[in-house]
Subunit: 223 residues, 2 copies
Amino acid sequence: MRETFHAELESLVGDLAKMTRLAGEMMTNASQALQQADLPLAELVISGDDEINALHDDMEQRCVNLLVLQAPVAADLRVVISAMHAVNDLERMGNLAQHIAKIARLKHPAAILPGEVRPVFARMGLLAAELADSAADAIETRDPLGATRLAEADDEVDALRRQLFQILFAEDWTHGVEPAVDAALLGRYYERFADHAVAIARQVGYVVTGELPASSMPNPSGH
Amino acid sequence: MRETFHAELESLVGDLAKMTRLAGEMMTNASQALQQADLPLAELVISGDDEINALHDDMEQRCVNLLVLQAPVAADLRVVISAMHAVNDLERMGNLAQHIAKIARLKHPAAILPGEVRPVFARMGLLAAELADSAADAIETRDPLGATRLAEADDEVDALRRQLFQILFAEDWTHGVEPAVDAALLGRYYERFADHAVAIARQVGYVVTGELPASSMPNPSGH
């Protein structure tokens, strides 16, 4: 019984890492669809969200089954609890990548991003996908991203969002309201994707140390 | 032992309902701060977020303790699992009310909302606070909001967001980029707050029926 339990737990953790990489791929594709107004790629991301949702439902059920049938304790219990939180984060990450792809689809064939903001989004896209990959590594190696790395990533995303608002609100912004609104919402989606990846890495820290991650830090401004 | 356990479980559920009403109050205050450019009220919401975060950490720890010490099964286990999900939703609801209040503070003493969009936000604020109250009722009575009511609320929030974009992107929008960006982000915060309230009500459905809520439905557009 215990042997089956540990095999199931390992398989759950392995699938969690795979799902995290899938979310990272969705983000990479969504970013490319956005940058290049690539409709088929946008459609690919949008349809991939069903897969994430199905994985979410399957993995949540497996977590509940493990709790019901095995009543795990100590480190094993922490793995199951963290997995339950992480599958929720991953579902949101899939949804957010999908939101980005849907804006690309909605505005197709127009390029959505005026030239001034393209480098900001290129960097945000890279950073978000990188954080998803780091979170997957953390799950596989049970080695949480260092606190320093997390703080750096948070700081960079915040700085990119501030930079974005400076561009949108500058007097020489000539593209009008709609592209600015799109850019602001896109910035929010990237930020939240990164937040969820960081939350997953923090969960790995909980599995390793037994200390629950504290509430997410409030961001300094309403933007 | 079992008696203590059930007393603890009841107390957890009671605190969850209180926390849900607190989130609803934060939203009501944030909406009023926004509509009336009321700085002290905005500050109250912003400082209240610490309370929500502290409640989150405390209640999550109590859930873990119940799992570790009691290994609950069946309906009791479902209550603990649902409570763990709900405290996460509530933390986000507090954060979102705080985001709204921070925009009110950032732009003070200016009124943030141009007249055209005020009625949309007044309705969104009412709806969001109402959903939080309904979710608290659902927790207290263990009676999930009817599926019809949930679908209606979802539809109304979607319709309000579409209405908002129509106003912002109309040719007669004369307020420029910054108020439009604020309004779009605010709309997103209200929508997510409502989503989390609905998710809590769905969790109550899980407690009652034992069926896990399916993944959230994708919204029809990237906006």
